[in-house]
C-alpha cells in the first residue's frame, strides 16, 4: 500500500513536472529586456504621476513608444530621467522640480459656513451638496480627499485646512486630480510668488464672504514688468517661467501692490530639499522623500491629534 501510494504520487508529480518544464519552454513569452531594466530604474512608487497606470505601464510605454519623453517620472526626478533616457535611447531634458500648492486662505479670510455639513466625510460629496458648505465656492473643504490620494503622506490637516509638506511632495499630481475645487496646483519649487486665492467670482461677491479673497483689481498684473501675470478665466495666473527669467530686479512689486495681501512670496524651499540637478542618484532622491526634519514630522501628528480630539468633542 505504501509502495503503491509513493509510486503513484511520484509518477503524477514527475509527469506534471515534465509537462510544466516543457510548457515553460514552449510557451515562453518574449519580453523586451529593456522594459525590466527601465522598471528597475524607476522608483516603484506606482503613484501614476507620469499619467500611466503604474511604473510598469510607463516602463513598457517608454520603451515601445519612441515619441514618449523619458522625464515623466516626477518622483525620481532628473536622475531617473537620465537613466530612463539612457536605457530607452532618448535625449534627456531635465524637468523643472515642482511642488503642490493649496491655493486658498479660507481660515485667514474667515469664510463662514453656510450650513453644517454632516454627510459623508469626503470633499467630493460635500462639494456636491448645494455648492458646498462654505460661502465661497472655491474654498478648501478640508475633508482631505487629497490626503487620501497622496501616495507619499505629504499632506495633513491643520486647523481645518490641508497643508502640504514640500519635503515629502513628489509632485505626482494625484491631489490635483481628486480636488473637487481644483485649488491644488503644481508650481515650480523655485517659484517666487503665488496668489493664495483661486476664486473666479466677481469683486463684490468675493469681498462679502472673504476678508482676503482676490477681488480682481489687477494691480499685480499692471505692476509686473515681466508681464508674467495674466488674467485668465476670471482669476490671476502667473507664468512662473517668465517670472523666474526676469529675476529679482522687479523687487516683487506685485506682492507690495496687492491690497488684499494674498500675492505672497512663495515660501522658499530649503537648499537641502532642492534636488541637485547634477549629482543626484536614484537612492538619494528616494531618501529625500523619506527623511524629514523632526520638526516637520511632529507637526502633522500634532495637528492630526488636534483634529481628532475636536471631532470627538463634537460628538
Amino acid at each position: 500500500m505504501i509502495a503503491s501510494s509513493v509510486l503513484t504520487l511520484l509518477g503524477i508529480g514527475s509527469s506534471a513536472a515534465v509537462v510544466l518544464a516543457v510548457a515553460s519552454r514552449l510557451l515562453k513569452v518574449e519580453e523586451n529586456p529593456k522594459v525590466e531594466l527601465v522598471l528597475d530604474a524607476l522608483p516603484g512608487a506606482n503613484c501614476g504621476g507620469c499619467g500611466f497606470a503604474g511604473c510598469e505601464a510607463y516602463a513598457v510605454a517608454v520603451v515601445v513608444n519612441e515619441d514618449l519623453p523619458a522625464n515623466l517620472c516626477s518622483v525620481g526626478g532628473p536622475a531617473v530621467a537620465a537613466k530612463v533616457g539612457e536605457l530607452s535611447g532618448k535625449a534627456v531634458v531635465a524637468g523643472e522640480p515642482m511642488v503642490a500648492f493649496r491655493r486658498c486662505s479660507r481660515v485667514e479670510g474667515e469664510v463662514r459656513a453656510r450650513f453644517e455639513y454632516v454627510g459623508t466625510q469626503t470633499c467630493a460629496s460635500a462639494a456636491m451638496l448645494e455648492g458646498g458648505p462654505y460661502m465661497c465656492a472655491w474654498a478648501c473643504l478640508g475633508l482631505g480627499d487629497c490626503i487620501r490620494a497622496c501616495p507619499f503622506d505629504a499632506m495633513y490637516i491643520a486647523n481645518g485646512m490641508v497643508e502640504i509638506l514640500p519635503s515629502k511632495c513628489m509632485s505626482c499630481g494625484q491631489c490635483i486630480k481628486v480636488c473637487p475645487r481644483s485649488i491644488t496646483q503644481l508650481l515650480p519649487r523655485r517659484a517666487r510668488v503665488m496668489v493664495h486665492c483661486s476664486t473666479r467670482e466677481k469683486m463684490k461677491s468675493v469681498s462679502e464672504v472673504c476678508a482676503v479673497g482676490c477681488i480682481n483689481c489687477l494691480k499685480c498684473l499692471k505692476s509686473c514688468p515681466a508681464e508674467a501675470i495674466r488674467y485668465e478665466q476670471g482669476r490671476i495666473e502667473i507664468n512662473h517661467e517668465a517670472c523666474l527669467a526676469y529675476g529679482s530686479a522687479c523687487e516683487e512689486r506685485c506682492v507690495s501692490s496687492c491690497p488684499r495681501g494674498i500675492m505672497r512670496h512663495h515660501s522658499p524651499v530649503p537648499k537641502a530639499e532642492m534636488p541637485d540637478l547634477d549629482s543626484l542618484d536614484t537612492d538619494a532622491s528616494m531618501e529625500r522623500g523619506m527623511v524629514e526634519p523632526e520638526a516637520a514630522a511632529s507637526r502633522p501628528m500634532q495637528a492630526e491629534a488636534d483634529t481628532k480630539s475636536d471631532k470627538e468633542s463634537e460628538r
Binding site: T8, L9, G13, A16, V19, L20, V29, T120
Partner: protein
Amino acid sequence: MEESQVMHYVLMFIGAVFVNNIVLAQFLGQCPYIGCSKEKHVAIGMGAAVCFVCVLSTAITWIVQKKMLDPFDLGYLQTIVFILVIAALVQFVEMFLKKVSPPLYKSLGIFLPLITTNCCVLGLAILVQREEYGLGEALFYSFSASAGFLLALVLMAAIRERFALCRTPRALQGIPLGLIMAGLMSLCFMAFKGMIS
C-alpha cells in the same frame, strides 16, 4: 433532451447557487470571500477566475478519478492526488493564458496563483465524486457552484463598498464588519434551505 432532464439541470443550478451555496452554506473558499471582496471589479475578476478553474479542474479530476484511481483501487489517495493535479493544472493554465491571450491573462492572471490550492476548487472536485455525477453533470454542477461563489463574492463586495461610505465604530471597521456581514448573509441564505430536498 427530455423535460425531466432539463428540470434536473435547472434544479441542480438553483440548488448549487442558492440552497447549497458553496460559500454561504458549505463554508468553502472563505479566504477569497473575505480577502477579495473589498471592491466589486476585483470580486468579479476573482469570481470569474474561480469559475474558470473550477470547471477545468473538475473535468481533469473526474477523468483522473474514473480512469486512474478507481480501476487501481487508489481511492484513499484522492485528496493528495487532486491537490497535485489542480496545482499543476493552474500553473499550466497561467502559462498558457500568458502566451495565448494577454488580455485574459491581465484580467484573470493575478488571481490564478491565489486559487491554486483554494479549498473551494478542491472541495468541488471531491463533492462531485461523492455525489457520483457523470462528466456532463459534474461540469454543470461545478459551473453552477462557482457561479454561486461569484454571486456571494459580488454581493459581499457591494455591501462592503456601501460600508466604506458609512460612519462605523472604529473597532468594527474593515475585517470585523466583513465577518459580521458574512455571518448575516449566511443566515439569509439559510432561508433557501428545504426549498429543494
